[in-house]
Each structure stands twice: as C-alpha cells, then as structure tokens.
Amino acid sequence: MSVEEIFQSIVHFRRGEIAALVQAEIDARTDASVILEQGLIAAMGAVGGEFSAGRLFVPEMLRAAETMKIGLEVLRPLLVEADITPRGTVVVGTVKGDLHDIGKNLVAMMLEGAGFAVVDLGVDVDPKAFVDAAAESQAQLVAMSALLTTTMPVMAECIGRFKDAGSRARIIVGGAPVNQDYAIKISADGYSSDAPGAVELAKRLVRAPGREAAAS
C-alpha cells in the first residue's frame, strides 16, 4: 500500500478500491496532509491536465473526481482534526427562469474535483437565494449560468443584489449566449466558455484577493 496507489486509483478512476486504499494509509499512520496533497489533489491535478489536453473524456474525468471524493470522505475526519480546509467555497446555480443545468452540473463536479467545496443551488435560482447562500456558506465565489436570452439579464440583476448586499464574493458567469463582453458589461468578475476554463478561473480568483474586472 502507498500514496502512489491512491494516486493511481484516481487517475484510472477505480472507485471500488479507493476507500480501502485511503483507510490502509491512515492505518499505516501516513500523515493526512500527505494523503490529501500527494494522493488525492495531485491525482486530480494530473487528471485535469489530461482533460485539458483533450486526452481524457468528460465521463472519465467525472468518474476520477467521484473516486477522489470517496477517498476524501474517508480522510475527512482526519482533515477536520488537522484543520485542513478546502481550496475555497463556491455557490453554483442557474439563474431565475432557467432550467438548463447540464453545463452547471459539469462545472460543479469539476470544481469539487479540484478541491473546492461546492454549494449547488440547482436550477431557477432566485437572486436573493444566491446572495443568502453565499453569505451563509461564506463562499468566496459564485458561479451562475443561463442558456436563454430571456434569462441572461437575470445575471446582471443578481450581480446588482450582491453589490447592494456589500458581498465580497466574486462572481463568474457562463452559458451558451454569454460571452466575455457581456460578462464585462454586467460587471462579472469572470467568464468561461467551458467547464475546465471555469475551474481555472475559480482557482485564479479565489487565490487573488479583491475584486477585478472580467477582462483581467
């Protein structure tokens, strides 16, 4: 047994074996942070690289993320004990009036795979619910999507609510009719045309303090 095997079980998305592998490492008194960093997070980093290069497909990447999550659940009590926290918290949802959520789901799953805690509000989310959830979960980031031209303006409304509430959460947007110009226009902090881009954006924005324009 080794951390390398944990890494390999994620990279090859063998979800049936990961729990036992992580437990064995815990029993062997390997440091929880080593299992987390060198096993789980390093593996998802490798998976993300393969995915971004187009060599790994979405269903494979999602299964790898699911495998990682199973391992993380086994490890979680030790992480809590050692006060090791997620990379950040992200609130996700489709805006009021929009029920199209396949892209949003993909982003949520990939964010989890990248080590974020995700609060998924689902579809047809009221602007107030976004603001409340971000406050309650102390999220650093909010990711909202719209597929319809009729629901795009709701994203601007949501951003207005966050400003009114004095929230420091940063907001990223996406969806087929949205583009970078629109994101700038509505004062979003970022835009991505796909899920891997959204994860990169999330990593960048959560790392960097303060608000910045979508163009940066």
Binding site: G54, F57, V58, P59, G97, L99, H100, I102, G103, L106, L148, T149, T150, M152, P153, A176, P177, Y182, D194, A195, P196
Partner: protein
C-alpha cells in the same frame, strides 16, 4: 425510382415504440405546469403530485394518435409559399435560434440585432428550398420585455414564409394573434390560415417546462400548430446509446402529443426531433455529427410510423467559421434526412452548433438542398427516358450533343446546375478572380439586400404592426 434511405426496419420501429411506452408507463414525465399536470390527471395518467410526475399509459398515447391530424397546411403570408404537410420533397426551416451573427462586412462574431433578423428573412425568402422561418434570438435588444414580440412582428414584415417561433409566457400570445389578424383581416382567418406555429422543446431528460407549456395551452385555442422538438443529447442529457436516446426522445415527444391532444383534440402537431451527441472532450452539444443525423432520421421514421408530419434537425454544423467543415457536416446531416423523406429539415443559415447566423451560409445551404434533392429524385427509367432510338441514330463513334433529346434535357431537372459551385476551366476560373462557394454566395447576398423587398406588406398593415409593438413595449414592462 426515387432514392430512399431507411434507418430502422419495421421491427426496430416497433421496438423503439415499445421502449418509449415503457418509459412513459414506468418512469413517467415531469410537468412543471400545474395546468398540464391537471390535464394529464383528468385524462387518466397516474400522477405523483409531490414529484409532479405523470405516468402515461399506452392507451392515452393510442387515443392521442387518433385525434392528431395526419395532414394540415402551414400557411404563409404569400399563399404560394404555403407548406402542405406531409410533403413529397423536403422543405427547409431557417435556423436562427442562436444569439450571435457573423457580421457580413467584418466577419466578426457579435450579438444579433433586429436588422440581422430582417436581412436573413429577405435572403431566405429568395431561396428555392425555403419553407419556414425561425426568428433570430436577440440577446440585448432595446426593449428586453417585448423583444420577442418585436422580432415576430418584424419577421412577419420581412418574410413571406410561414413563421415558427416560441413563447416563454402566456401574456405574449395576444399580441401575435392580433398581428396576424391585422395581416389577414380577421381572427377567423388566423385560425384558418395558420401563419404561425411554435416550437416546443421538452427539457431532457423527460421534463416539460412551465411558462412555455402554459403559453401553448393558450395558443392551441387559436389552432396554431406545435412543433414538438425534444433535444436529448446522448451521453449528457440523454442515455449514452443512440437506441435509448431515440427511445427517450420519442417518449418525450409522445408525452407532448398526449398533453396537447388531451387539452384540445385535433391540435395540429409536427412530430420533430433535434437530438444531439456529446463532445466527450468538453461535454458540449454536437449537432454536426453522424450520430446526430442517424437519430433525427430515425425519429423522422418514427413520425411516419405514427402517420404524423415531421420536422427533423439537420443541415447543421459545429464549425466555427464558414468553410470546408461547415459544408461537409451540413451535407452529411442533410442527405440522410432528404433520402428518408422528412417533411422539413431545420438547420440552414446557422454555424457554431446553431449559435451563430451567417448570411452567406443561407445561400450555401440552399445549394446543399439542391444537391440532396437531385440525389433523392434518383434515376428515371420511364419509357420517355429510354433513348435507344438516339443510340441507334448516332451509332458507334458519333456524339449526342445535337440530338433533340439532349437539347430538351440539358435544362431539365434531370441535370443539376449549381448556382455556387465552380465548374469552370482553371483559366476561366482564374480570370473570374478564383471565386469559391462562399464568395459566390456573398455576391448573391449583396444582390438580394440591394434589391427591393419581395412581397412587402401594405403600409397600413405595417403601421398596425408598429402600433402593436409599441403597445407591447409599454404593457410588457
């Protein structure tokens, strides 16, 4: 005989139908509209009110199939462009569902405007195979709450073809009815002529939206036809086999058929499909793929299995720009549908997975339609085409260029004459400036837009439409 392409055997159509019924009876369909849920309940579906799911028995499907009209006419402002369904040849639906336009001058992608919509309508009006138009989606109009109404009214003004669109809420319905009454002279004529139909996309997997559903339950009182248009994406919003994705899309379509027939028996329905496949590298929806056209062609066969008119998504591409990939994918996703005999192919005009209008692509797609029709028409082996006597007259070693039959046939439908493709010698082609498909198409676009609009509406009707639009601006805020 005409060339025919068949995707499913009779047994396979039965098998897909049986699977669809199994999905409807055992899994059921979710209705977000309370009105729709009550209609399903009142007609004998098993309802789970908490989950809003209706399990639909086979008998309800059978009953709905009995009352759904097997033929009807999609009226056009120009009666000569009426579309009688079913058709012997495939017609085409201009696909302006996306929010972007490729700017004709700069070639850059930008958000679409009302002017882009109107230009596209005028171009499609001149196309030989144009049958039905979808208005453009406008993301950022000046009057966001009434943009949908303004678009429909402007489309009526700039197109003489049948208009198909969608409503997102019931309060939009009266303005469009009033506009059609202004064009046709009375509300009775609105019912009779059917200038307007709507597309109804179920939300895969197995969900019916609320607002759109309610709007359509209002609209069917005016006998407007509904295009049922499921879009399950195999591997993402649909199961990851073509077989089950077709069965599930068919189940969504049958559940829509049941709803609208129970709500108003005799409602004219077009049994369509716009399935996609998944780009597994990104998770994106693909519609220029061979799998897409296999599914929509199969669903076209299911429509005929039920005896219903149909529109199938085709003539589509995932290419970002006009060019070789666009032409290749559009031809691939048109030919099987035309050879399968679908009534209407929905897709021309768009690039980027139906996300971006390209004016010159409308003209290129009409050329593709012409090519496909020629293949579909096949080889005429009638006595009139048996030229044995000519062969005898010319004899070994002669030529046929001077025969009467050659003169008569050279401009007939037997020989396709391209409008855009290059057939010149190298020298002639060089002298012409080495034109390609798209440069020829661009010239045609310029010609059409420089000429007066074909079949304009009378000034007083345009004035009435303007007044309705202004009222919608005020009232829909």
């Amino acid at each position: 005989m005409r060339v025919h392409c068949q995707i499913l055997s009779e047994d396979e159509r039965q098998k897909i139908h049986a699977e669809s019924i199994k999905i409807l009876e055992q899994i059921g369909v979710k209705f977000l509209s309370q009105r729709a849920l009550e209609i399903m309940h009142d007609n004998g579906a098993k309802i789970d009110r908490d989950k809003r799911i209706a399990k639909i028995p086979a008998e309800l499907v059978e009953q709905a199939l009995k009352t759904a009209p097997k033929s009807f006419v999609l009226g056009a402002r120009d009666r000569a462009r009426d579309v009688a369904l079913p058709r012997s040849d495939s017609g085409y639906v201009l696909d302006l569902g996306g929010v972007f336009t490729r700017d004709f001058r700069s070639g850059e992608r930008r958000y679409a405007t009302l002017q882009d919509n109107d230009d596209a309508m005028r171009i499609f009006d001149e196309m030989a195979f144009g049958s039905v138009v979808w208005p453009h989606s406008i993301a950022e109009g000046e009057t966001p709450h009434s943009d949908a109404i303004r678009l429909i009214l402007s489309t009526f003004q700039h197109s003489s073809l049948h208009v198909q669109d969608e409503f997102s809420e019931p309060r939009e319905v009266p303005y469009v009815i009033e506009a059609m009454a202004a064009i046709l002279g009375s509300e009775d004529a609105v019912r009779e002529r059917k200038l307007y139909s709507v597309a109804y996309c179920t939300l895969a997997p197995l969900v019916h939206e609320g607002g759109m559903c309610d709007a359509y339950l209002d609209l069917i009182e005016f006998e407007a036809p509904i295009l049922i248009f499921p879009m399950p994406c195999t591997g993402a919003t649909g199961p990851c086999s073509l077989f089950s994705n077709i069965a599930m899309g068919n189940a969504e379509a049958l559940s829509s058929l049941v709803l609208f027939q129970m709500a108003r028996p005799g409602t004219p329905l077009i049994f369509g499909d716009a399935s996609g496949s998944t780009d597994f590298a990104s998770g994106g929806f693909l519609e220029g793929s061979p799998e897409m056209v296999l599914m929509t062609a199969a669903r076209g066969e299911m429509a005929r299995f039920y005896g219903l008119p149909n529109t199938q998504a085709g003539c589509l591409t995932d290419a970002q720009e006009p060019g070789a990939q666009a032409v290749m994918e559009k031809l691939l996703t048109t030919l099987p549908l035309v050879l399968g005999g679908v009534d209407l192919v929905q897709g021309p005009g768009a690039l980027q997975t139906s996300g971006m209008l390209c004016l010159e692509q409308i003209v290129v797609d009409d050329e593709i339609a012409g090519l496909c029709k020629r293949v579909r028409d096949g080889i005429d082996l009638s006595d009139a085409k048996n030229l044995f006597d000519d062969i005898a007259e010319v004899g070994p070693g002669g030529h046929f260029l001077m025969q009467d039959s050659t003169l008569a046939a050279c401009r007939s439908d037997e020989f396709f004459v391209p409008k855009l493709s290059n057939r010149n010698t190298f020298e002639r082609w060089s002298d012409l400036g080495r034109p390609d498909l798209y440069s020829n198409a661009r010239r045609r676009v310029e010609e059409i837009l420089a000429a007066p609009q074909r079949n304009p509406l009378p000034d007083d009707v345009v004035g009435k439409l303007d007044e309705i639009a202004r009222r919608a601006d005020d009232e829909l805020k």
